[in-house]
């Protein structure tokens, strides 16, 4: 059950498709904009990694809520052709009000703790914060890892560094820690590791080898507290750096690791994640403005190698140590993320709002997130998705999409002239049987113009679909030309075949929206280096013009015309239909022999020429009947054979034709149903040219990447090939000017 006090109202949660926050990687720079008119009083950090990409970001706002700063993120791109994986991460930190706090510092109860491996060393994920006075803190930690992340031998342990200080009454307590570890299985789904035993303190959280079948996409599970670590009476956090240390157990020997540092408590650790205030006296002063907070993020891999992902505040080397982030990324198979938000209160520097972010990273290293604000902040924290490209780009105009760019599709219901039954196969077979076995007109009907009473004549078409068509709730008698279709055609008291009506002549089917995003952010995203096609079921393959669609949303909606079985795939560019592809989704069940029925009508109605025509048509009738008999038909044709023998004599022919003129219809089920076995989903397929490995640095410095940039030469550096230069204010000879131009156009180093 979602405790809305913790997480904010459920309806404030965004869907995973709302990409918040959205970060864009441009070479080594990731940036994220926050609109300046947002009343911010929060700090956010997050980290995300995969095998080939690591990045993190910190932003913060001053306590007055007006000044906003962003920190760019150091991203190290690994030249790796290995396919990237999806990663999920979340770390949640929050506090509550209204809960009773604890006033005393409690000691560890070491008897309760469980050590996983006696020789395991600890990697510390430290969490520093300045929490509010006497507030209870609950921390939630989620970790994802590859399924190969060794369980049993690896675990997450949670420790709280506590000791008595003179500030012990002023700082919050941790009462509960929730922890969940997800394993990325080979089938691409995440499963939650079971946890048998969780401890707080110097203990170890044991993640056993068995995994339950929870799927990460079941977001509800995030609201379920799987591991409720009741810390008893709580543990008070230290004042100067109220810390929750989280140890990641591993076989990594921290000794000799230059990241190893010593905390105030004397404990040695490698800082993993920290959220800390500036360590000055201002922190605890009520008169000063809280200035900056910082985050460092470390990631551990199953081998226990930790690497600092990000450090936003450069403190003294005693606490924060730089690391070779790039080297670590190559070994990265598991990661730990944190997204923590707090607001800063001038008075007591307390956490008054907390937020969580569930992030999903796609193959392009772009995070998509679901964001929820805390209980006391109904207003959503809206990140403005604005990409800052600090690198020089080719000149672009400010022209944006404008005008009437929305297409509304409607459905249409045909209500007059025809009726459409939505049938199950058994009912349809009843109809066919009724037709095949023949309709016996009454003598009264024979004495009048029989035309128009052949039930087959009233059938417009019969179509079969690979899915359920929209049908009414109620059942109706199936009638053909006012004649009830009977389940037992020769029994006038027989039950009438019933079926539902088709409720909509046309209906829209939405395949959803997908963003067409660049992979390289350069010319390779376009033809002929990248080609894209859209496979449309039952229609055709549609070639996506990447020049049109790049950076935009593609939506596909089908409008199906049920009476005809045709479908039209509407291709949307954002909200505008730019193309329509037609296809056929309903397949006609051929109703052969209608000509025969018409012929029969002519025979029957031609009373004065009846005998003559009978003689002439007998052979035709026989031939036709033979054809029908030899074909694949549903329904019985035995009656036709019987009638043939009966019509050997003219009078009999006349009589039989009059009374038992069968409505010969050959129903063949040999319809082209091959497409029913195809994929029903629309799919984008990208064909991308392979990029061979080559030294990009040498290429850049000797050949140069094609570009088109304008400016003063002083604004460019490195290797340059210049096509045009205006040699103003150079006091040189004409020969020297030509020499300059020749050199610049061949390539120079500025």
């Amino acid at each position: 059950m979602v405790n809305e006090n913790y997480y904010g109202a459920k309806d404030t949660w965004l869907t995973p498709l709302d990409y918040l926050p959205y970060i864009k990687r441009t070479k080594n720079i990731l940036t994220l904009n926050i609109p300046k008119n947002t009343e911010l009083d929060k700090t956010i950090s997050f980290v995300c990694t995969d095998k080939n990409f690591c990045g993190n970001y910190v932003t913060y706002a001053r306590s007055n809520g007006n000044e906003i700063k962003e920190y760019a993120v150091d991203i190290y791109d690994i030249d790796n052709t290995e396919e990237k994986f999806l990663y999920h991460y979340i770390f949640r930190g929050y506090n509550l009000t209204g809960e009773k706090g604890y006033s005393d510092v409690k000691d560890w109860n070491y008897d309760v703790w469980y050590e996983d491996a006696t020789d395991a060393t600890y990697q510390n994920i430290s969490f520093y914060s300045s929490f509010g006075k006497n507030e209870n803190i609950k921390l939630c930690i989620f970790v994802t890892a590859y399924s190969s992340f060794p369980t049993g031998g690896n675990s997450i342990s949670v420790d709280i560094d506590t000791y008595n200080t003179e500030y012990k009454n002023n700082y919050p307590y941790v009462t509960n820690i929730y922890c969940r570890m997800y394993f990325l299985e080979s089938d691409g789904k995440y499963r939650v590791a079971e946890v048998n035993d969780l401890r707080i303190g110097n203990g170890v959280l044991n993640f056993p080898t068995a995994k339950k079948n929870y799927y990460f996409s079941d977001i509800d599970y995030l609201d379920k507290i799987l591991y409720n670590i009741n810390y008893g009476n709580g543990a008070q956090l230290n004042d100067a750096y109220a810390s929750l240390s989280i140890f990641l157990n591993s076989n990594h020997d921290a000794e000799g690791d230059d990241r190893l540092c010593t905390g105030v408590s004397g404990r040695r650790y490698i800082p993993c994640i920290g959220f800390f205030p500036q360590i000055t006296e201002d922190i605890i002063s009520t008169n000063k403005t809280f200035t900056e907070k910082g985050v460092k993020v470390y990631i551990s891999d199953p081998q226990g190698i930790d690497t600092l992902c990000y450090r936003c505040i450069d403190l003294t080397d005693n606490y924060w140590i730089k690391n070779d982030f790039y080297e670590f990324c190559k070994k990265q198979t598991a990661y730990f993320g944190m997204f923590f938000v707090t607001s800063v209160n001038n008075i007591n520097l307390s956490l008054v709002d907390t937020n969580t972010f569930l992030g999903i990273m796609d193959k392009n290293g772009i995070t998509h997130g679901e964001y929820s604000s805390g209980y006391d902040n109904v207003k959503q924290f809206n990140f403005d998705i604005d990409l800052i490209d600090t690198e020089k780009k080719i000149p672009e105009t400010e022209e944006k999409d404008s005008g009437d760019l929305t297409t509304n599709l409607n459905t249409y219901n045909l209500t007059s002239g025809q009726r459409y039954y939505a049938m199950v196969e058994s009912n349809f077979n009843d109809v066919i049987k009724f037709i095949n076995l023949g309709y016996r007109p009454t003598l009264e009907e024979l004495s009048i113009d029989f035309k128009g009473k052949n039930p087959v004549d009233y059938i417009v078409n019969a179509l079969i679909y690979p899915f359920d068509i929209p049908y009414s709730y109620e059942l109706y008698n199936v009638t053909l030309g006012g004649i009830n279709v009977l389940k037992s055609p020769y029994d006038e008291n027989s039950e009438v075949v019933k079926a539902q009506y088709l409720t909509n002549s046309t209906q829209l089917f939405d395949f959803g929206t997908i963003a067409i995003t660049p992979k390289y952010n350069d010319f390779r995203d376009y033809e002929p280096f990248t080609r894209c096609e859209l496979q449309l079921p039952f229609c055709n393959t549609y070639v996506i013009d990447l020049k049109k669609f790049m950076g935009k949303n593609l939506t596909v909606k089908y409008s199906i015309d049920f009476p005809t079985g045709s479908c039209s795939a509407y291709i949307f560019l954002n909200d505008l239909v730019v193309d329509i592809v037609n296809g056929q989704i309903g397949y006609s069940i051929p109703l052969n022999g209608l000509a025969q029925g018409e012929y029969q009508n002519q025979i029957i109605n031609s009373k004065f020429r009846l005998d003559q025509t009978l003689i002439n048509t007998f052979s035709n009738f026989t031939n036709t009947a033979t054809n029908i008999i030899s074909g694949n038909v549903t329904g019985t044709i035995n009656s036709i054979g019987n009638n043939l023998t009966d019509i050997s004599r003219g009078e009999q022919i006349t009589y039989n034709l009059k009374h038992t003129a069968p409505n010969i219809s050959s129903i063949s089920t040999a319809s082209p149903l091959c497409s029913f076995s195809q994929d029903y989903r629309a799919r984008l397929v990208f064909y991308r040219s392979k990029n061979p490995n080559f030294d990009k640095t040498i290429y850049g410095s000797t050949v140069g990447y094609a570009c088109l940039k304008f400016g003063k030469l002083s604004s460019f550096s490195g290797f340059l090939v210049i096509s045009n230069i205006k040699l103003d204010n150079i006091n040189c000879t004409d020969t020297e000017k030509n020499m300059l131009k020749n050199l610049l156009t061949s390539g120079v180093y500025n």
Binding site: F562, P563, N691, E736
Partner: protein
């Protein structure tokens, strides 16, 4: 006699801001007739070292490559050619340029020199998010159209 600031550079010739490792200022005599862009200077044999490959001549106000050193008894003849990039390095910075290649990264301008194997593709597939045509069963999947007035 004119002053020659002699020394060397190890930068590529196409570097604009070359680092001129000036070793000494020596005296030299212009070998007339003299082309200011490709002058010849006569200097004492002892004043030139093997590492010297570059010089600056204040009289001409230009930097020069030492293309050749000809031994001529007690003197040496320096054959120079002007280095326009270094000479006008500051003035160049204020010039408007159009850069068509740089060492930054690929852009949206097609780079015909970038080694890309357009004969070999890899394929990426993405389903659109919804599967609206799918129904668990195919129960009412037959449509029968009939003429009717009601």
């Amino acid at each position: 006699m004119i002053d020659i600031k002699i020394g060397n550079v190890t930068d590529d010739n196409k570097v604009i801001h070359k680092t001129f490792n000036e070793r000494a200022t020596i005296a030299g005599e212009i070998n007339f007739p003299c082309d200011i862009l490709n002058p010849e200077l006569i200097v004492s044999r002892e004043t030139i070292m093997n590492t010297d490959n570059y010089c600056y001549i204040p009289y001409f106000g230009r930097y020069y490559f030492i293309n050749n050193i000809t031994f001529n008894g007690k003197t040496k003849i320096l054959q120079l050619s002007v280095d326009v990039l270094k000479t006008y390095e500051n003035e160049l910075q204020n010039c408007d340029v159009t850069v068509i290649r740089d060492n930054d990264k690929p852009t949206y301008i097609v780079d015909d020199k970038l080694p890309i194997n357009t004969n070999n593709y890899y394929i990426e597939g993405k389903y659109l998010p919804n599967n609206p045509l799918y129904t668990d069963g195919k129960d009412h999947n037959i449509l029968l159209g009939v003429i009717s007035s009601n």
